[in-house]
Symmetry: C2
Subunit: 671 residues, 2 copies
């Protein structure tokens, strides 16, 4: 590349873009760690985007109608940090840039949404950002349908790299965006022909332009270092009635000795090479120094959107008070006022009627009463709507001609669904839940982890949660997935035993602001076990005494979900022999662990022998059985220590010994 020619052709642009490149080199060198090449390659694209297209106000990072900027290629984090610093975001003073990748800095190795207001999503695991962006764009459409174009009218811009486009999740995301004609989604592909292992062609020769077109995207190909072409492409993209992919031909690590090589992907810290690159840019200031005129030009850009924002605020204030309150409540993630009373009434009615229902059906019944309270819940399923019971009567279906529809047919795309739901939650103003089989937690797993890390309250409705699904066999029977979900920090894993507990779990999940929920629900029918109505949400305590011992308390049975019924029957067997037996229902281990020790001891007093019952692997149970560390109980576990099998469900419970008799026998053996 002839950098001189670039600089001469667009001097004002060049100096601004160079500021990004120079800050990137300096920060990575100071940290002696990071990825220099991507920000250096995409600086031109990002500069034009921020200068001429992105609607934002650096003084007000959370303005609801801002355009969203998603750095899907999250390793290039210095690109976004540079932009946020240069445009004057208060949370990104120069000190943050200097502390890149250091303890406590907002400038973490990869962008983390929970560290700074202006970081819309956490990226780094490749492909997540582009899949989040589908959810962002859908949320915008949904909100626009509800509040009108005067209040909601913004774009979602994404920078994605080759890695994002190779990951399978990108296929799911691209197909969804094309299917739904998400015209306000604009992806800028950093087409630099380089991956870590070498040229892209080592592993990939996909014609990305043809691929996106096959998914019904508008595609524009440009020189990613030519500001005019970038500007024209973004202008064109904003007018398209399809989502747009702009293929930006770029040079990774532009101007550096490592340009166009896989070495350029990583940390470029050689002092001489840095100096040479800066010289080639015509950049003469010292490390971390941005010339005052360049900084002030960038700060002007950071103020461009202030008028827009003020005008928006006027329009917002002109809305009816009820509309404003509804908008703000949904955005804040607050539950509707009627939630608590509605749940209580539903629970009371349920305890009275004592229906026998699969908890997936309990979940549907709960949603039938909850969805009407909300304007922001958005349901969906990865092509298992009838099995996951996620669709309720009033939602409508999200589609090109029904943008207000609150049910999404996600297709056979568990991962894309999960990541897009995260995007919706991050966008704010909508509250997503979506279903698949519990076993396919595996497919959605990277996005489920990110929901927990990002502190968004996405709800994963995971039905068919054990061998109880029967004939579909071990490929569909989860045994380790409760443990997997419970191993993940900041995740509520609910395994309700009946309709009452299911309703309580939904109340918690839909009130949560920072913690995602996994609802583990049965395929098979279960009796109502909570026959005595309590206003209190007992699931909130994680575990509670469902049936206490009659006579001397010798045994405690602890169970979850479909195995609570088995524990109750085992209790009958034991009590019939005069063995006093308590049954503890434990719908949420995380919430029980969060109770104070006095409560935990009250539910699980030392002394009696304990048997845990769950049609899953025992990993994670020892704490509640043998006892919390330093305490001791004789204990055993009835569950699964292998994969399941294909057969009718009742035969499987027999085969694997998850029966009342076996539970009772194990308890007696301990006495």
């Amino acid at each position: 590349m002839d950098l001189n020619a670039l600089a001469k052709a667009h001097p004002a642009h060049w100096s601004k873009a160079t500021a990004i490149r120079a800050l990137t080199l300096d920060a990575v060198a100071a940290a002696n760690s990071g990825h220099s090449g991507m920000p250096m390659g995409m600086a031109d694209v990002a500069t034009v985007l921020f200068e001429k297209h992105l609607k934002f106000d650096a003084s007000n990072p959370l303005w609801p109608d801002r355009d969203r900027f998603i750095l899907s290629a999250g390793h290039g984090s210095m690109l976004i940090y540079s932009l946020l610093h240069l445009t004057g975001y208060e949370q990104f003073p120069l000190e943050e840039i200097k502390n890149f990748r250091q303890m406590g800095a907002r400038t973490a190795g990869h962008p983390e949404n929970f560290l700074a207001d202006a970081i819309e999503t956490t990226t780094g695991p490749l492909g997540q950002g582009i899949a989040n962006s589908v959810g962002f764009a859908m949320a915008e459409e949904l909100q626009r349908a509800q509040y009108g174009k005067k209040i909601v009218d913004h774009f979602t811009y994404v920078i994605a790299g080759d890695g994002c486009l190779m990951e399978g999740i990108s296929h799911e995301a691209i197909a969804l965006a094309g299917r739904h004609k998400l015209s306000k989604l604009i992806v800028m592909w950093d087409n630099n022909d380089i991956t870590i292992d070498g040229p892209v062609s080592l592993s990939d020769k996909v014609d990305q332009v043809a691929r996106f077109k096959a998914a019904d995207w508008h595609v524009i190909e440009i020189d990613g270092h030519n500001p005019d072409e970038i500007d024209a492409a973004l202008t064109e993209a904003r007018k398209s009635d399809l989502p747009t992919m702009i293929a930006c031909k770029t040079h990774i690590a532009l101007g550096h000795a490592a340009q166009d090589t896989s070495k350029g992907h990583g940390a470029l810290t050689d002092a001489d090479q840095m100096a040479a690159a800066k010289a080639a840019y015509g950049w003469t200031t010292g490390p971390f120094e941005v010339p005052a005129d360049v900084k002030s030009a960038w700060e002007e850009i950071g103020k461009h959107g202030a008028d827009d924002r003020r005008n928006w605020e006027e329009r917002f204030d002109a809305m009816s008070r009820s509309k404003r309150e509804e908008f703000n409540r949904a955005l804040a993630g607050d539950a509707p006022k009627k939630l608590s009373a509605t749940i209580k009434a539903f629970k009371k009615q349920t305890s009275e009627n004592a229906p026998e229902l699969a908890t997936r059906a309990s979940s549907e019944k709960t949603l039938e009463v909850l969805n009407p309270l909300y304007t922001e819940t958005v349901g969906g399923s990865a092509d298992l709507t009838g099995s996951n019971n996620t669709k309720t009567a009033d939602l409508g279906v999200f589609d090109v001609d029904n943008r207000g529809g609150r049910y999404v047919y996600w297709g056979i795309r568990e991962h894309g669904m999960a990541a897009a739901m995260n995007g919706m939650a991050l966008h704010g103003g909508v509250r997503p839940y979506g279903g698949t089989f519990m076993c396919f937690t595996d497919y959605a797993r990277p996005a489920m982890r990110l929901a927990a890390l990002m502190q968004v309250p996405t709800v994963f409705v995971m039905t068919h949660d054990s061998i109880g699904l029967g004939e579909d066999g071990p490929t569909h029977q989860p045994v380790e997935h409760l443990a997997i979900s419970r191993a993940t920090p900041n995740t509520y894993v609910f395994r309700p035993a009946d309709t009452v507990e299911t309703a309580e779990a939904w109340e918690i999940a839909l009130s949560s602001k920072k913690t995602p929920s996994v609802l583990s629900l049965t395929r098979q029918g279960l009796p109502t076990v909570r026959l005595e109505h309590k206003n209190k949400n007992l699931t909130e305590q994680g575990a509670y005494v469902l049936a206490d011992a009659e006579g001397k308390r010798q045994v405690i049975l602890i169970a979850t979900g479909s195995e609570v019924e088995i524990a109750l029957k085992a209790r009958d067997l034991l009590q019939a022999e005069g063995i006093g037996t308590r049954v503890v229902s434990m719908p949420c281990m995380e919430l029980f662990a969060a109770q104070d020790e006095a409560y935990r001891r009250r539910v699980l007093p030392a002394g009696p022998v304990r048997v845990g019952v769950e049609a899953a692997v025992s990993q994670g149970w020892d704490r509640w059985l043998t006892g919390e560390r330093g305490k001791w109980n004789k204990a055993d576990f009835v569950g699964m220590d292998r994969f399941g099998a294909s057969a009718p469900a009742e035969e499987l419970f027999e085969k694997f010994g998850i029966t009342p008799q076996n539970v009772a026998d194990k308890a007696k053996a301990l006495l």
Copy 2:
């Protein structure tokens, strides 16, 4: 569809295809469960494939040079069961068809490779089969390069549905196959426009033909009910020098009242509708009855390949003895004779030299001595070759013009890599290992579970296995992934502490025949802790006493991987205060759990207080700390109870208290 016209045009074909449809209807009805529509829709394609193209000998299902048939749309399992029964596979008598989806039957809900020889892979989780098939086709190419076309020359045929093509993993698989011009891979897409939720268009409008062409596939579009078109397409596909996708336009549940509807996807059990469908087919026999002439025509097809097979055996016998032995050894999954001695020598040298190495580098050093012993190891990485240390000098790179290359640049495709490795292992004759970051276990997870379920010894080389990776931050720092892997049945999770344990782990992993391995390896350098050489593979016992207490044994510290060093330093602190402290290294919990109780007690005797140390969540540790159930020890755990952070590694270990001092303090607090 005018079934009469179809029947008249190709009467012999029609009766054979109808046998599949009728058996499917009968088996699903008997089970009252299953998926009727797909086998009914794809019966014509499958019939032509088996009759005219598939190279197989029903009397010899494991003939190494057979063509492979992969039913990626595994829910349509009655398609393959019908074919195996009709063509006369001994393992599939009519009784098996009648026992569809019942306890103990080979005819499980979804095809399970470990239940029958002729089932090449386990499918059901959508997209896995098509991704496995990439590995099958690569293994064929690799073996052909080694043994020549006379010995290895077969196709991989795949039937995939819309679900397979929507799943993200299909993108990874298709891109890989196109990149590597896997011309002997032929995918037949069941293009029936139906998913469970409704028409495909509800969720997807991707132009699949254009999509596959964009990935450099040959594509043919046909009427999937016209035997001439099917035959011509397969003939053309076999000649192509690209992988071929045949888009087969079909009618799901052909001839049934539910034809072309999403209801047709599931179990069609209505007696009247079944009778009507059979009448429309002109099928007049009773349930499970195949007319003798039709059955014998099918059985003839099952014998078509017998001559081919005998000729192949002659060619095989004509090979040199050493070539034959090598072929058979690799196929059987037996380790090379020199493996044990090589490992011992390597360990001895290592204990003497006591290098300080990251275990990812230890792994590379081990592979440098092991790969030359093998002809069948195939390494690779999902674009992290230099970080995973998976490439050794002698492997060569698998490519279009180097089919014998034993290293695969998988690209940024953890899931596709894992599933393709499973396919390689299932094909046999090659032994795959592949790397990514431990945190991206998440992306590979569905295929890692299937490796365990399918009982294949795929090796997952997972580096950067804790906060020890430092600045990349929590998106890249695993904390729950050891627990996730350990929760999965039939999986070895190795977390070696140094080069010696790493070599031992590799020995086990590369000797395993039915269990996949996860090698959890550090980014950061570790000292050699096994300074005294033992010939015995101590890792095989899962845990062992690395340093015993001096004086009275008061404390046992149990650690894995990078935390063994910390435990040893904590021991120094404790011993300095006169507190006798044993350090147990526990590189593989699964193998320790498999030891007899006497050994477990010897390593972990009751009495001393215990502290576990692992830079990960504690889930799964209580068993070894508080004690196995029914036994008790005062215990504590030093590890992670939250996501990590972005900062230099040493600072993170300090921040999260994973330090010798903290371990020693915890032990003392328990005393």
